[in-house]
Assembly symmetry: C2
Homo-oligomer: 191 residues x 2
């Protein structure tokens, strides 16, 4: 697969802020196709970048969070995730979100890559961070209606296969985790 003949980027002609919805904003971008010069309007969902953390305990479990998600109106089992604060380093954000959501602290955060939440009409990038040595350091956030679940990595794989873990970002983050060796050796420093 070469890159010859790749489509060209579209040229932004104008951008208009339309509405604020707490977590995200909607804007209308007018863009010009380089192929035929035609103009197209896109309604872009503009939300801050996020982070999701693969926090591995010394027992080789992942620290997951079960919570009600109103978008799908169901419970969802996910890796702890959140939004980056202005100027915040994704690795710092990962440890902060982990502790805020679960009461766990972890160490040696490192990037496993970034994901696009929905390249078609959303700006959000999600940083995927692996951290090890996760241990309970406090209580779960009493202001959040969530439950912490520490699940062995093999069992996590099974939960994905059976459809119990279905968030696209979480499944993709777990793929990056397994592609990087599934934390093998990281928890014990053996590799």
């Amino acid at each position: 697969m070469g890159t010859s003949g790749s489509p060209q980027p579209w040229e932004l002609q104008s951008s208009e802020h339309l509405q604020d919805y707490d977590v995200y904003r909607v804007r209308r971008d007018r863009v010009r196709s380089p192929r035929d010069g035609s103009l197209h309007d896109f309604h872009v969902v503009d939300a801050p970048d996020g982070v999701t953390v693969l926090a591995l305990t010394p027992e080789h479990e992942l620290v997951l969070v079960e919570q009600y998600r109103h978008g799908i109106r169901q419970l969802s089992l996910e890796t702890p995730s959140g939004i980056l604060e202005e100027g915040e380093d994704p690795l710092d954000a990962a440890l902060r979100e982990l502790e805020e959501e679960t009461g766990f602290r972890a160490e040696e955060p490192r990037s496993l890559g970034t994901l696009d939440l929905n390249p078609s009409w959303e700006t959000t990038r999600v940083h995927v961070v692996l951290a090890t040595g996760a241990r309970r350091a406090g209580d779960e956030d009493p202001g959040e209606d969530t439950r912490v679940r520490c699940v062995a990595t093999d069992e996590v794989r099974e939960r994905v296969r059976e459809g119990a873990i279905r968030s696209a970002t979480v499944v993709a983050a777990l793929h990056l985790f397994w592609a990087a060796g599934g934390g093998a050796g990281v928890a014990t420093g053996a590799r």
Copy 2:
């Protein structure tokens, strides 16, 4: 991990349509926390369910599409994807989207599972469909500024690892593909 002590679903009190943005709509839902009875407003992005298709050629390549995506303002390499038409079967939609976007026809579509695009504030479910025997049957859609790329499955894995394929839904769909055996034996009927 038991399900005892799982969080309870939140109760919908009211829902108000706010705005239409072509592909999606935004509504405001007022929901009550079962934990403390408090009321919260969520701005939900309501979009139709989608489908993404893992189309495998007899040469064990996946049919991918490279296109400019305005959400991220970059080129993106993805599995062919689209929105379900009203009442349309996801398996039919997969073959339709494949042919419309790439000019390829495929056979024997089967479900690899479903993904939630963003459980937090979006309704969209994406059906992941595997189809085999993919062959070029016509031209690419001349109205779409896209390029078809047939990429060997091993090379696809490498593209994910190096961050050239970054759409969360696409990476998650590929994970389901590999977890189901990566189409091994399917293309040839050997398994």
